[in-house]
Amino acid sequence: MSAASAPFALVATTLAVAPATHAVAGVTGGAYRWLTFLVFALVIVATMVVTYLAAKRVRSAADFYTAGGGISGLQNGWAIAGDYLSAASFLGIAGLISLYGYDGFMYSVGWLVAYVTVLLLIAEPCRNIGKYTLGDILAYRNDPKKTRIVGALSVITVSTFYLTAQMVGGGVLVKALIGIDYEVSVVAVGVLMLGYVLFGGMVATTWVQIIKAVLLVAASIVIVMLVWTPYGFSLPAFMADVVGDPKVQAQVARLLGDPAKAMSAAELGQRFLEPGLYFKAPIDQISLGMALVFGTAGLPHILMRFFTVPTAQAARKSVVWAMGIIGGFYVLTLFLGFGAAKLVGPADIAAVDPGGNMAGPLLAQYIGGGADSLLGNFMLAFVSAVAFATIVAVVAGLVLAAASAIAHDLWVGVWRAGHDVSAQEQVFAARLATVLVGALAIAIGIAAKGQNVAVLVALAFAVAASANFPCVLLTLYWKRCNTTGIVAGMVVGTTVAVGLTLVSPNLSYPKIVRVAAHRVLDAEPAQRAALLEALGSGDATRIAQAGRGSVALDKAVRKARDDLHNVEGRETSFMGLEKPLLALKNPGLFSIPLGFLAVILGSLLGRDKRAERMWDEVYARQNTGIRVARTRAH
C-alpha cells in the first residue's frame, strides 16, 4: 500500500465500521426509528393512563406524599425495586461486567446487601414513627424546628446530587439510544416526570415505578433465557464459552497491558472471572461498600416509600419482596453482562460508550437478530423504552422526596409552625414545591451538560450514609440522643462527605489531565503506524481488528484534544489543588464514623429534657406500632 492511499484506507475503514456502532446518531438504526418511537409511545401512554386514574384519588397531603398509606406490601416491594434500580445499576452494572468481568459482579452485591440494613433496623421503626418525611422521624423527640431544618437541608442535598446525576445520565442515555438532542431528552424526562408527580402524587409515582420494575424484570428474563438456552441452562458451560471467547481474551489482554504477553489465551480468559480488573485500590472498594450498605437506609426517596404502607408488617413484607426482586435482577445482570461480553464483545460495547452503559441494549439487539432485523430493533427499542421509564420513575421519586422536605418540613413544619394549615394549603404547597424542584432539575440537567456526574451518585450515598443514617439510627435506638446531636451529625456528616470528595481524585486536576492527554497524543504516531501495517497485511481478521482499533484510537485522540482544550490555562482543580489531597475516591470510610461520632458527642454535650422525656414514647411506639392508625388520620 502506498503512503498516499494509506490515510484514505483508514478513513474508509472508519466509515465502514461506524454504521455498525451507530455512535453518531444513536444505537437505533435509522430505518427502525419509527419502531422505537412507537414502543416509547406505548410505555408513556400506559403510565399516563395510570396517572389519570391516580389523579382522582389525590385529595389530601397524605394522598399526595404517601398515597394515603394505602399501598400493599407486595406493591411497595415492586415500587422500591423500581425506585432503586436506577439507570446506573440497570445499565451500568451490566456494562461493568461486560468490560471488567468479576469486579462488575462483585460491585452489584453491595446494592442488595444494603437492604439487610433497611430491613433489620430502619423500615419498621420508620413506619411506626414517621408520617411523610425524614424530618418527621427526627422531629418526633427533638426540637422540631431545628431538626426539621437540618433534616430538610440534608434531604435536599442528597436528592439534588442524585437528581443531577439522573438528569444528566438520562439525557446522555436517551441521546445515545434514539439520537434526539441532549436538551430535548432532559426536558422530555423532566416534563413527563412533573406530569406524573404533579397530578398523580405518590399514587402515580408508585404505579410508574411498579410498571417500570415489571417491564425491566420481564425484559431481562427474556434476554437471559435467549442467551442461556443454547447452554442447556448450565452455568459452567455458559461461563466456559465466555472465557473461551477471543473477544473477551483480547479485552483482558488490553486491560492488563504488558503482563498479559506472558499469558496463554486460556489464562487470559480465566482472568476475566478473577478480581482486580476494575478495582485497583481495595480500600476504595471497601469505602464504597460502606457508603452503599449504610447509605441506602438514609436515602430519602427510599425512606419515603415506607410511609406508603399501612403497617410495620407491610413495610417488612415490602423490603423482603424488594430484596427478592432487586437481588434476582442482579443475578440476571450477571448473564446480561457476561452474555454481552461473549456475543457483542467488550471492544464494540466500549466503542459505543466507554463506560459500557450500552451493553444491555446492544445485547438485546444482537439476541433479536442484529442491527438489520425487525425483532432485533424491536428488542432494542423495548430495552430503550424501559431505560427511559427507569429514569423518569427514579426522578419522580426523588422530586417527591425533595418537594416533601420543602413543603412539609420547611413550609408547614417550620415557617407556619403553630398555625393551622388547611388541607388545601398543604396540597398546594406540595404541588408548588414539586414544580420548583422539577424546574430546577431540568435547569441543572441542561447546565451540567457534558460534566462527569458519576461522582454525584457516590456522593449522594456518602452523604446519606454519613449524615442521615447516623441521625435516624441513633434517634430511634439511643436514649441519650438529642437535638444537639442531630444538628451536629447532619452538619458534620454532610460537610465531611462533601469536603473529602472535593479534594479527592474524582475532580479533574489540569496538570494530571495534561500529562495523560500528552501520553495519548505522543503515542499516536506509533499506534497509527502499527494499524496501517495491519491494514496492509491482507489477513481479514487483522484488518477487522485494525479497523476497530483505528476507531478507538480516533476517539482517544479526540478525547485527549478535548481534555487539553478544557483545562487550557488552568493549573489547579476547582478547589485550587494541583493534585488530590486524598487518594480515596469514596469518603465513606472516614465520613461515616465521623457522622456517628458527631451525633454521639453532640448528644453528650448538649442537654435536651424533651428528647429524654419522649424516649419511652418513641421506643415503645417504634416497637409496637401503637397509634400508627391515629397518626395517619391526622
Binding site: D103, M106, L235, L273, I286, G289, V320, Y619, T624
Partner: protein, 110 residues
C-alpha cells in the same frame, strides 16, 4: 408532632412483655446485622487480599470468587426470610398483645 397524651408510656416500657420483646429483638437484630456486615465485607477484603483463594477453580471455569459472590445473594435472602419468620411469629404476637392492652386501657379511661 402530636403527643399521644392519654398513654402512660413508662408503663408500656415497664411491662414485662415489652421488656422481653426488647431483649429478644435487641440481641437478634444486632446479631444478625453484625453477621450480615461481616459476611458482606469479607467479599471485597477477600477479592483484595486473598486472590489466590478466589482463583481456585471448582466446577470447570467457575472459581471460588464467583461462588462466594453468588453466596452473598443467598445469604442476604436467607437473612431476610429468617428475620421475617421470627418477626411474624414472635415479635408481632408480643407487640400485638401490648398494643391491644394499651388500646383497651385508653378506651376504658375515655
Amino acid at each position: 408532632m402530636q403527643s399521644a397524651d392519654s398513654i402512660d408510656w413508662a408503663a408500656v416500657i415497664a411491662d414485662p412483655r415489652f421488656q422481653r420483646l426488647h431483649r429478644r429483638k435487641s440481641s437478634f437484630l444486632w446479631g444478625l446485622m453484625a453477621f450480615s456486615v461481616a459476611y458482606y465485607f469479607a467479599l471485597p477484603i477477600g477479592a483484595a487480599y486473598f486472590q489466590d483463594v478466589f482463583r481456585i477453580r471448582v466446577f470447570g471455569v467457575i472459581n471460588v470468587g464467583l461462588l462466594f459472590a453468588l453466596s452473598e445473594f443467598v445469604v442476604a435472602w436467607a437473612i431476610a426470610l429468617f428475620y421475617s419468620r421470627i418477626a411474624n411469629r414472635e415479635f408481632d404476637a408480643l407487640a400485638g398483645e401490648i398494643a391491644a392492652d394499651v388500646g383497651r386501657r385508653s378506651r376504658g379511661r375515655a
